[in-house]
């Protein structure tokens, strides 16, 4: 017969045990640390069946294309099954270090170029030099800028899948009504276009955002003016250099000259563009599919060169290998096969609006007739953030705040950018100390 007291005791013990396990689970988050030698990679995978977990942040119009590529890969590889886990990029960069530190990281993933050095310094991802060596991938098949930005402390941490940049979108109906026949390409023709648009009754033809992507516009202009946002030693931000001040002043002048309304809130410049309320907007090329779907009469062109040289902010999605608590050679080799295959077959990825990173893929006609074709021609003008650990957070905390204050008119461009640059330099010095450089 059941013994009520023992029954009760047993359950109390069970409850205590569950509690203890829960506590252990909460506190046992210590990392294992240490270097991790990557397994020898031979170029193909012939081992037993493995399942790879693959993390990425393609939640937008790019998601279905990535899924399609993964399915194709799975169909071609009998012994490898890739399972995607797609989450918002913002969550991705918080979750990945936590998961890897807890030994629960994925087997392979994709992240932005400017995050590679940060995660390499945090020991979240491991070098992929042996992979690129075996595949004989070199700078020759990529643009030099994007290839070099994947190197941190003389080791390579990412294999570029694509490059993407800002672009200029314009409403072709508005342009026709204003009698503009060609997309503006420099400061003079851009201003001329804005004036013609105003004359044609489009009161605010170019809305200057106060938040995203205003800091990317700022960086593009700074590069166009011949400046560098960060010095070579990664200890100083140059937002308040003459090139930087010129950049932010051009942005605020757009508002002062009446081409843009003031106080453009988050995303409203893009919504206004889609609604035909404004004629020109600068945004990422990843918006192409969204604009295609909206049915708006639009065209895309490279950013006009406002400064003295052609330049535009760009970034790149890179495959990476996370550090594993218990490395499994089979899985690592399979993951490398996956990366190699995705890189070689990246022409399909062009459908997402991105530009395949490999010259050979582009030369094979991946971009023929695609809306981003015109932008891809200027791929050599794309500028990427230097591989400085922690640079992403530095920009969010300083440059974005400074640009915001200046564009909203809360501070003069000089004041706002000087403050931003000082804060950024301070953070960069702190980062240097904490990353032990």
């Amino acid at each position: 017969m059941t013994n009520p007291k023992r029954f009760l005791r047993r359950h109390l013990k069970a409850a205590t045990a569950i509690g203890a396990v829960a506590l252990l689970g909460l506190t046992a988050c210590g990392g294992s640390g240490g270097d991790q030698a990557a397994a020898e990679f031979t170029g193909e995978y012939t081992g037993p069946e493995v399942e790879l977990s693959y993390w990425n942040g393609f939640t937008g119009g790019d998601g279905p294309f990535m899924e399609g590529m993964v399915e194709e890969f799975n169909a071609e590889h009998e012994n490898i099954k890739v399972v995607s886990n797609t989450m918002q990029w913002a969550d991705f960069y918080q979750r990945l270090p936590a998961a890897v530190t807890a030994g629960e990281g994925p087997d392979v993933g994709v992240m932005h170029l400017d995050q590679l050095s940060t995660n390499a310094a945090r020991n979240v991802i491991v070098p992929v030099d042996d992979l690129t060596d075996t595949l004989e991938l070199t700078a020759d098949d990529f643009t030099e800028e994007v290839w070099n930005a994947g190197v941190y402390k003389e080791e390579r941490f990412g294999v570029p899948l694509d490059v993407h940049s800002l672009a200029m979108y314009y409403n072709t109906e508005h342009f026709a009504a204003a009698g503009i026949t060609e997309a503006p390409t420099d400061a003079a023709s851009f201003e001329d276009a804005l004036e013609k648009l105003q004359a044609a009754g489009y009161e605010n033809p170019f809305w200057m955002p106060s938040l995203w992507p205003s800091h990317l516009i700022n960086l593009s202009l700074l590069w166009q003016n011949g400046g560098q946002p960060y010095d070579a030693e990664a200890s100083q931000a140059n937002f308040a250099s003459p090139e930087g001040i010129d950049a932010i002043t051009w942005q605020t002048d757009i508002i002062e000259n009446g081409y843009s309304p003031s106080n453009v809130a988050l995303d409203s410049q893009y919504v206004a563009f889609k609604n035909g309320e404004t004629s020109i907007t600068w945004d990422g090329i990843w918006q192409l599919n969204d604009l295609e779907a909206s049915g708006l009469p639009y065209a895309a062109a490279p950013l006009p060169t406002i400064g003295s040289e052609e330049a535009v902010w760009g970034s790149s999605h890179n495959f990476f290998l996370p550090r594993q608590a218990t490395p499994d050679a089979d899985k690592q080799n399979a993951a490398k096969v996956f990366i190699a295959w995705m890189s070689e077959n990246s022409e399909e990825w062009a459908g997402s609006g991105m530009i395949p990173a490999r010259e050979s893929v582009r030369a094979a006609g991946a971009l023929d007739g695609m809306p981003q074709e015109a932008i891809a021609e200027n791929i050599d003008d794309m500028r990427f953030l230097p591989p400085i650990p922690g640079i992403g957070a530095v920009q969010t905390e300083t440059l974005e705040v400074g640009v915001n204050k200046a564009v909203l008119g809360d501070q003069s461009p000089e004041e706002a950018m000087t403050e931003a640059a000082e804060n950024a330099s301070q953070l960069m010095e702190e980062n240097k100390a904490s990353f032990g450089e």
């Binding site: 009760l8 106060s210 809130a265 988050l266 409203s268 206004a272 915001n404 501070q411």
Partner: protein
């Protein structure tokens, strides 16, 4: 932990049989020591795991330069705390700026969240056709998540393409208020959205308390010739007092913990002006991986919150005594 008077295996088997046979009150009490723990267990485990341990662990973290992805987490003593009080440190300006933002928000949202729901509850307590419908309408926004509320209002409040300014313009009012990109308009927007979103919760609690006030008291007041206002002051308010202290504390804590609204509607802007303390803590700890500093900030915020709560308790206790 389950030691009983007799102890030992044999008695363990005998005791229940006895208790089943006799079932005297004393025998039942004999079984008792473990029972309350059993009933407590489900919550206790969660409480220990998600409240007590994090509190202690957080204090430990706050004494280190803590980046959980790095192998070295050097002990720095109280440095994370002293930095918060040194005007030339990196954290000083951001942290106290965010504390000020939290203060402004709390100052304006708490009084409104105490009075408007009371008004709504008084209306809803009256008998009129469609009463349940209106009760549901006022409570409805509360069931929405902060993301839904924020995205909804971000577009409604957009100063260039939003509906709010459009209708203000139709009414002949100024239609160029930058609700999300300038202060003080951003504070009006954030407080307004929060009141719209959460008033239903306070209203429901008020309503329950109103229904608990005996009708005889109102009757007696009316017999004594009290008018509506006098009934409210002398019957309704004293009847609500115990609930009022609860509602005040809960509202206060919720307001001090405001994060999602400014994170999603204003992104802390213009500049950093609407970055609240929790926003700053989340940013410091989760985005910049400075968990030590973020933990120290949390403790400073907690001290403030405890102080405020004590003041509220003291205020309500004082009135009770008189």
């Amino acid at each position: 932990m389950t030691t009983l008077k007799e102890g030992g295996a044999p008695s363990e088997q005998r005791a229940p049989r006895q208790s089943r046979a006799k079932s005297s009150p004393r025998e039942i009490r004999r079984q008792a020591p473990g029972t309350p723990w059993l009933f407590l267990a489900p919550y206790l485990i969660l409480f220990i795991g998600f409240v007590l341990v994090p509190i202690v662990f957080g204090a430990w973290i706050s004494l280190h330069t803590w980046d959980y992805t790095r192998p070295l987490k050097p002990f720095v003593g109280l440095q994370n705390y002293t930095e918060l009080f040194q005007p030339d440190s990196a954290q000083f300006q951001n942290f106290w700026g965010s504390m000020q933002a939290t203060g402004i928000f709390t100052l304006f949202s708490v009084p409104l969240l105490l009075t408007i729901p009371l008004g709504v509850a008084l209306l809803m307590a009256k008998k009129f056709p469609g009463r349940n419908f209106f009760r549901a309408v006022y409570f409805a926004p509360y069931v929405l998540g902060v993301a839904v509320v924020a995205v909804l209002w971000r577009y409604l409040l957009d100063n260039n393409i939003g509906l709010v300014n459009y209708y203000l313009g139709l009414l002949g009012l100024p239609n160029d208020i930058a609700w999300t990109t300038s202060t003080p308009a951003a504070w009006v927007a954030l407080v307004g959205v929060t009141v719209w979103w959460t008033l239903g919760f306070n209203a429901v609690i008020y309503l329950a308390a109103l229904q608990d006030i005996p009708a005889e008291l109102y009757e007696a007041a009316r017999v004594d010739g009290a008018n509506g206002w006098q009934q409210f002051v002398n019957v309704t308010l004293p009847g609500l007092r115990p609930v009022l202290s609860f509602v005040t504390i809960v509202t206060l804590i919720a307001s001090v913990n405001m994060f999602g609204q400014s994170f999603l509607i204003t992104q802390g802007g213009p500049g950093r002006e609407t970055r609240t303390a929790i926003y700053q803590i989340a940013d410091t700890g989760l985005r910049n991986f400075q968990m030590g500093s973020a933990a120290a900030m949390s403790y400073v915020l907690t001290v403030f919150l405890i102080g405020l709560s004590l003041v509220v308790f003291w205020l309500f206790r004082e009135k009770k005594g008189s």
